[in-house]
Symmetry: C3
Subunit: 204 residues, 3 copies
């Protein structure tokens, strides 16, 4: 169950990576490379910090799903771009799931709730940051003021709180994921924004 949801998250992040490749006029190989790194980057960093061999290098699905996503974007990308709103919804689902799964795995490996939540956020935002840096851009989440990291932080904190009260298993993971997902959707829908530092004018 959790494995399937994880692969859904990987698929969605890979789609966003491959679409970035189209926007930057990369060829199909460049698209595949950036799709793999977007989809697997956050989880690999999480596992390196936990000092275990990354899941991405043990399960075939993790490697092949981004190839599938690249093929879909390669052949049907005008349609994929047209469904960008749907992509954003799926991306929010990936964000929610990755922060919940990442936090839970960190707690399983004995990190404190604070550090587990930090690692959950890292898992959720790492791949997207890598995608943007490789594409030569400042990571979206740093300057796009619609809340992105905050939903992941709250989802990770919720996961850590549930776990600390002995509530774990896929029900708890899904609840935390849904919380982060819902907050991200609401942030986009109602344009919730984080403030700029005092005295800094918005460029918009």
């Amino acid at each position: 169950m959790s494995e399937i949801l994880d692969l859904v998250g990987i698929f969605v992040f890979a789609l966003s990576g491959a679409l970035m490749g189209v926007r930057k006029r990369l060829d199909v190989v460049g698209m595949a490379v950036i799709a793999e790194m977007t989809a697997l980057g956050g989880g690999v960093v999480r596992d390196l910090i936990l000092n275990v061999r990354p899941t991405a290098f043990q399960s075939s699905g993790y490697v092949l799903v981004p190839v599938l996503a690249t093929a879909i974007v390669f052949f049907w990308h005008p349609h994929v771009a047209r469904v960008m709103p749907a992509i954003l919804v799926l991306d929010a689902a990936g964000l929610g799931l990755f922060c919940a799964v990442g936090t839970e795995k960190a707690l399983d490996y004995g990190l404190s709730p604070l550090h587990a939540a930090l690692l959950g956020v890292t898992t959720a935002i790492g791949g997207g940051m890598l995608r943007d840096v490789l594409a030569g851009e400042i990571p979206t989440l740093l300057y796009d003021r619609q809340l992105y990291a905050v939903p992941a932080m709250l989802g990770s904190a919720a996961m850590a709180a549930l776990y600390t009260h002995d509530l774990h298993g896929w029900h708890a993971t899904l609840a935390a994921a849904v919380l982060a997902f819902g907050l991200r959707i609401a942030a986009m829908r109602y344009n919730w924004r984080a403030p700029l530092a005092r005295g800094v004018k918005s460029t918009e």
Copy 2:
């Protein structure tokens, strides 16, 4: 003692990260993300290479100090920018401390003096390079010709030399840190510069 100095270094690097966030008009969340990565990046890479769980994911202070630095910059950044000369001095202190502490930790884990010094330099310059890459800029230390990496190299080499002669403990660490700090300050004060490759014209 060494822990306190380490946290001072983290605080100072986090300030420089958060100020970069202000310059790039990031919101408060983007500032916090870049501050955390600037402050913790070098040490995390060091610990991954040593194959141990990163200190940043075991101590609460390491995570919370960058949040504090972000809050200070968020509310008082015009003052923080005005004290930029002071920041540069503190940054030099962080550079000195991180190269000394990093080298010592690497020697404790059995690396040769050469490799320990290399890892000390990595610890000292890693976070700042990450900060600049995330902000969409070429890392300052690569093109700003005022010596930055060289003081860290000499401080790391001094630490390795002292350690090899059975001089360790915080006195030795502090001596190596002060050496690197002093060299960096002198490089800024007297505009010490590294040469360009033969025949390359400076752009200044």
Copy 3:
């Protein structure tokens, strides 16, 4: 034997890093930093994923060879640039060797053929991607459509296939390296290119 070939690969990648430093008008320290990271980056990431201490932090040659390459470029870079075609040939040799050696090491550590090949490609392309990101550019291999990652993929796949049939040792490694090298040379010679996504116009 394999160690010597490995150092040749490191030397060549370091040359390409130092030459990038000249192009970006970096000083000699910046050149050395980027040369080290280009030469050692791919192997360090490989070893972190395998959860072993990076070879680069255990062997002196790995650290000193990039220093030598930097010195050569520093003093004779107009000649080095004039021999750029030779560099591209050597770079192809480095690519071939790193993908073969990387895949073999991953198989030795028990990864599946699929994952070992993925890690071999990571070893081969990782350093060059790091070089380009540090220089403020989109990694060449992502947008330059002459095949670069594909030869590494085929070389890694060949290494994995040989190994699975109990053919290993330096003969097998060299055969896989030569395959990847030959394909890369042919891709440059005959301008073999990967396709863009459907409907995307080339900018050339």
